[in-house]
Symmetry: D2
Subunit: 346 residues, 4 copies
């Protein structure tokens, strides 16, 4: 059994890691870390775990935790993992960081977009970007995995095959994304109250959202040159789910058949990526509470553009599920272990 | 492997049986029955099953199905199961009926409340009411199980220990219930459109809902005499979940400790019933997409009443989950098999 | 023009008073009081008022405000109005208090249920309970009006005619109420986050909610003796609306016709109370953003009970609308002035 | 008093026209047309009008109606108005058509996108596109107004000043739009059931939505040459509201100040268009149930793009409100008459 510790277990992503690991046949949770609720029974914070979790919350002492755990998940605000991790910890424990600390290789870029000083730049080169479908082999041998952001996961998987194969012009990429409200976290902010979110939709972080450089990096690796793109996230009155609608100009005439074959070639062996049939649009409800990503595209000959679409559950494939998928790879387990729950609908 | 057939696989309850059986280690689905969608790929109707279910929908030929299946789930409108079932089918296949056809032992009462003629009254005596926590032993040997209604399941489990032990006066029971909209089914009715349900709450079936006699029967068996009660269901703008708030007069002075011990005595050995701590109210989100029922109570000394509360997922413990729980019992499997998914939140 | 000041203008009830007074032909707002946002443009807090309100928020100095205003609305937490009001203020300005400070005549009862010391018990006798349909005449001459609570307004109007006429037994009243989330206020609490409220229903304040004695008082006045009742509020995932489902035993045999005539006799002259047709259940969406209350009832001969139902918008008739209705009465205007907006649907 | 008749009064747009006209000081409704509900009391279909509307539904006889009404609103499916309207009707009654029949001047284009034969092409030249802020003067003298589509209204008002002034490149326009579900109408379709829409977001009509040519026409008129753009609508789990996020490349370096002045120059005299402050994103809740459109923009120097945003209520400014605004213009009334209701929040 893999002994797992979670720092930030009382956030929505942490809670989802708990849910997934409780159903994982080869992992057990040894540390429910929560600075805010230290000492309180975990199931008093998340009563869905009544009768299922007896443990109380512990603090975020990563040193102590690394002595007990085989793997540590840090589901914490930006900066915390970088400030706690060190060589000693990494020498005895694998770390999967759900924050952005190790996602962007360029320290300066990280510090500009996040507005904080990076506390552990020495691990940036070693850290592996944990988008399993793309970096599978490096993840297997990693000590430190940077678990991708929710928007970057959905955006990258929706666009990757097309940009990599030169089908679309990298200078024309526009990503219009929509997310459920759990992505905003469990902090008590007026903006996230039910009555402020319900019956409403809004854009936020226009031309300035922190996931922009992360997506640009990944798509840049794919096409072999720097990418600058427009990324606009929107807040939708639902709990879970991310939908990406991306636009780019085609570099040459293409047919639906040609692109469909391409997409299937990239993804048919991927358990968690599902290529939908022609004219079927991804919907977030079809992947809810699962680790699947549904992708599709539409050619618009009138404008010579490709519209690329993807849907996933932001808390699963966009956070906790992908983290567990990374754990499976890092520990030599079948990648799907504990992640095959069927999407729940309605 | 148990071979399972589903008649009515494209309703919400049918879809949920599919979801649960796909995760069940000892069952496989051999028949996706749907009169409306015969011939169409099942995953085209419910795209959450993309890449997971290849089968196409079949008709509702129970005869043919019984030759292939070990168990048949009928998730169909009232009257259909009774019109199809016969001795030959029951002699070779177990039947779990999710409709009301075999829940009420008194034919006349059934026909009055449901307004249809019962087509198979000869099986009423044999049929076992599949509320597992109460009728476990009879279910093990049943050929035909009447899977309980959603409201009756939650209501009965919330009230049963108190009425059975004579703590409350059976003549004073009032049940005010609230349900998510999946309980209204997937039929295309104006009343169930998003814009008619969202931002709204209403009572319906006041003093006339068909689940009333079913609850009265079960509570009557518990206390040993006929019960007449008030039952008012309400439609809530959410997909899943039932909440029951029930009221009754106390027959004698009691303490929280005394009743709490009583409740624990009844339910501590039940995997799927969770007795909450004092002053913690059940919430539907804490049991979402799981087979758990959370129950609690509050003594009101000012009015000498007991307020009894229960929450569950109407599609799981209120329909498909309980059906699978019944199947497990009928086939000698551990009752929890395939049903231990942790509630998903948020 | 009536000059109106609002203390607590940035809460949901305060915001609704602003909305209503902007549409009122004979009132103007001279003071947008908000301790939290003093100095900030009001329309920066509530952007629905962009281009419509230029004023900035002021503090909660009731003395200063009373020098400028003809009427003060206090839409503040319990205790604030009682701590600020005095004879000098009341001698020159009318006060409509939306908190509970002056609703309950018995100081001791108030202090027990609210857990605070009453700071101005000397005005309790003078204060008029502002349920316009019942206390219209006293309101016309009042200096200080206690604007009723949301649950008490809907509960009282639903039950009043029946208890006053002796149709129901006062000892058997049970009120099961459901409210949209705006009733919980705009404070930044985790419990009221979108992801905690959405897809969920729960009871709260079981057998202990502060509106209980207020309802008991009003129904007690109606039937001429003390009433003790069960009141259970529930939180529903919608912004606005309160639905009351109330139960009581009939004191004698009655017919639908008889009770329907009774209800019409009480309410046909009331602009804001609408008696629905037989078998039509009140729904909150039919009164949304309006000052109407829809009421109806159902006789249940099986249990000898009467089920009484009411629906209204908690922010309008349950708070701001009723406050404006009170203002109209206090200033000799037609009661409906500025309040005839048609309910908005969907 | 203007006598108004409504054909299609029981759809959501028709219902909204009723709501607005009931509050209009100079109009009265003389005909509630509804083919589906002929003979039934209108308030039985929309119970928000209980006690407010006594009339029963009439059929869709436009001839008869034109003898009684000064203005006819057709809130019906595509094709109906064109099949009913004729010179005689137009000679005595003004017609405001909320369908697409007279929005697109090019018959062939209409027939291609809508897949039906145009029954009254002889009125296409005469018909005025009723986007009041742009075509105000022609509307004043029109007999037949084509009330704009919801998406085109919000899209055009958000983009118009920039494309007209040559700030953006017309070949690069991408519009990603999101709508509440009332836009899908009140027809009983499975896809629009609560449980299919709630907790979900999806794109639809990708690269093929019928509002595309309408937006292209309007923007083409603005910039003086044909425009081909990408338009993708999305369905959001809320009742009302449309949000447009539009992207285009800048034709030259600009500053926020410069564009902000431009926008204010276009819209400061417009009652119903509100230019938000820098960095304030439009949100649908800030215009709910009102006739306002909130617009803003953001310059993205990294990609040399302009992001243009707009929010409005699809049933008001996107349908019924704009229709009434057109009526006011056509009858010489102040444009705002009956339309100044303050947005309701939350």
């Amino acid at each position: 059994m893999i002994k797992a510790g979670i720092i930030g277990a009382t956030g929505y992503a942490g809670n989802e890691i708990v849910r997934l690991l409780l159903g994982h046949p080869q992992a057990e949770i040894v540390w429910y870390g929560s600075r805010s609720y230290t000492g309180q029974p975990y199931a008093d914070i998340y009563r869905n775990f009544t009768k299922l979790v007896d443990a109380a919350c512990l603090d975020d002492n990563m040193e102590a935790l690394s002595a007990e755990a085989d793997v540590i998940f840090t589901a914490t605000p930006q900066g915390l993992c970088a400030s706690l991790v060190n060589e000693e910890i990494l020498s005895r424990t694998k770390v999967i960081d759900l924050s952005a600390d190790f996602r962007i290789k360029d320290v300066q870029k990280y510090e500009e977009w996040y507005g904080i000083t990076h506390k552990a730049p020495q691990f940036l080169e070693e850290a592996v970007y944990g988008l399993c479908e793309i970096n599978r082999e490096q993840i297997r041998n990693a000590r430190l995995v940077a678990n991708p952001g929710c928007y970057p996961t959905c955006s990258t998987l929706s666009i990757y095959p097309f940009i990599k194969e030169g089908i679309i012009d990298p200078d024309t990429v526009i990503i219009d994304a929509k997310s459920g409200t759990s992505g905003a976290g469990r902090g008590a902010k007026t903006d996230n109250l039910f009555c402020e979110v319900n019956e409403n939709i809004k854009a936020y972080g226009v031309a300035s959202h922190r996931h922009t450089p992360e997506i640009e990096d990944q798509l840049g690796y794919a096409c072999g040159r720097p990418v600058f793109l427009s990324f606009t996230p929107h807040l939708v009155p639902m709990n879970r789910g991310i939908l990406v609608t991306a636009y780019a100009s085609l570099t040459r005439p293409v047919t639906d058949n040609e692109l469909r074959s391409l997409l299937h070639r990239y993804y048919d062996n991927e358990t968690f990526v599902r290529v939908l049939a022609e004219d079927v649009c991804p919907q977030t409800r079809f992947v809810e509470s699962s680790n699947y990503v549904d992708v599709n595209f539409k050619i618009d000959p009138r404008t010579n553009r490709l519209i690329m679409m993807g849907a996933m559950d932001n808390l699963v494939k966009g956070a906790a599920g992908q983290a567990v998928q990374n754990m499976n790879l890092m520990f030599g387990l079948p990648e799907e272990t504990g992640l095959l729950a069927v999407p729940s609908l309605p």
